[in-house]
């Protein structure tokens, strides 16, 4: 099965963030480069929630050393991280999901 395309990941991540955290009325109002933690949108419990969501939705395991802002602090980073994990998994064992 081919990995999910980045626009689909972004749409799903936006939906998850919008449903889980107080982002206001307009999910599109959050730019791909906005820091989720600095903006006070998610806290450390929120990061736990986000990681749990990524692991269960995309079938990936997020290692401790991957819990860094460069992977998780903006929508853009999250999409890139998930995509890399999925394509890496696909290259490694042939099944992304």
């Amino acid at each position: 099965m081919p990995p999910i395309a980045q626009p689909e990941i972004e749409e799903e991540i936006r939906r998850f963030l919008f449903e889980s955290f107080p982002l206001g009325d307009d999910p599109a109002g959050l730019a791909n480069g906005d820091s989720l933690v600095e903006a006070g949108l998610i806290d450390s419990t929120g990061v736990l929630e986000l990681v749990g969501h990524l692991e269960s939705t995309y079938g990936i395991a997020v290692a401790d050393d991957e819990l860094i802002p460069e992977n998780l602090d903006t929508i853009g980073y999250i999409v890139g991280f998930v995509h890399r994990k999925l394509t890496g998994a696909a290259a490694g064992n042939g099944s992304a999901l």
Binding site: G40, D43, S44, T45, L48, V51, L67, I68, P69, L72
Partner: protein
């Protein structure tokens, strides 16, 4: 030799006699003048903060108008009652002991928490002990996510990252401890016509290290403006027993012993005191790093953590919010 203007740990020095006098005057004004109450109830944990508060209340209001309440439960540390009683005795205050295990059992505190722990450590069961831990903030920008450490009866330890659901459930269930204790404090306060004196120091108050409507609830918080280092100095000035002054700070909340920095704070309290003081004074990280014994980058991390905790714990400080004002009532 360092120039006198260099920032150092002496920045937190206080005139203990003047600080104690000011707090006592404030306590009398608030308890008698504002609240129109006769005395104060203090929950005693055997720790430095509650010991200093009971000593200040005794000095301000008279020892016969202060009641200390010891509230052990099956998982609290054995010396909590002993040291709490010692604190009360040392300042001539009566102390009563209320065992809260039956109340916690009735609320399902232990059972609900253990069920949540089992979702990440399936073998966790009778005889096991546990605590929550955070990785250190020093030297890394990694997000600090809570893990649970379980210890089997044979001493074997298992650590697992918590899910958000399990984390919230563990914290919510454990908060029964602080809330039951506060309920008992208010029982005694109501029957005696006393106020409840809360015991947070500045670190705890500023960083939201308390349970809303649990240890965060009180009528007066006499040492909330004092850094923890200053509370220790005051304890010395008030001649509290050495056994209390030398006890390391602990949360005394989980069945495995747990330091406060393991659970909540980024660095040990004396370092955090210094960083918080410097951050409040607008000092750059580079000026603080040598005295704090941290790199400039780590002081920046501590500054960011301070700000993030202020943001995320803001709701804990808020009282019930009204949709429309009721101008006749001044609830502040």
């Amino acid at each position: 030799m360092a120039p006198p203007s260099e920032f150092g740990r002496d920045a937190l020095a206080i005139d203990c006699a003047a600080a104690a006098d000011a707090i006592c005057a404030g306590l009398r004004e608030i308890v008698h003048g504002l609240l129109r109450l006769r005395g104060a109830v203090v929950g005693l944990s055997g720790g430095i903060d509650s010991s200093v508060v009971v000593a200040l209340c005794a000095r301000a209001l008279g020892p016969e108008r202060v009641l200390g309440v010891l509230m052990p439960e099956t998982e609290s540390s054995a010396d909590s009652v002993e040291l709490g009683r010692l604190a009360a005795e040392s300042v001539g205050v009566e102390a009563v002991c209320e065992e809260i295990t039956p109340a916690l059992d009735a609320f399902g505190c232990y059972q609900r928490r253990d069920a949540a722990v089992r979702t990440v450590i399936p073998e966790y069961g009778p005889g096991w002990r546990m605590k929550l831990v955070l990785p250190s903030l020093v030297g890394s920008d990694r997000y600090r996510l809570f893990s649970v450490v379980g210890e089997a009866p044979d001493g074997r330890r298992v650590e697992a990252r918590l899910t958000a659901t399990a984390y919230r459930e563990v914290v919510a269930a454990t908060s029964f401890k602080q809330r039951v204790r506060k309920t008992i404090e208010y029982y005694h306060a109501d029957r005696l016509g006393f106020a409840v004196a809360g015991t947070p120091n500045r670190l705890e108050y500023d960083q939201g290290f308390f349970v809303k409507n649990g240890d965060g609830a009180a009528d007066v918080k006499p040492i909330a403006h004092l850094y923890k280092t200053q509370v220790y100095r005051l304890a010395e000035h008030l001649e509290l027993p050495e056994a209390i002054r030398s006890r390391p700070p602990t949360t005394d909340t989980y069945s495995l012993e747990q330091s406060q920095e393991e659970f909540y704070f980024a660095v040990p309290y004396d370092t955090l005191d210094l960083c918080l003081y410097a951050h409040n004074a607008g000092l750059p990280a580079a000026a603080v790093a040598p005295a704090a014994g941290l790199s400039e980058e780590d002081v920046e991390r501590v500054y960011r953590d301070i700000e993030q905790k202020r943001r995320t714990t803001r709701p804990l400080h808020l009282g019930p919010q009204l949709v429309e004002p009721v101008p006749e009532i001044d609830a502040d």
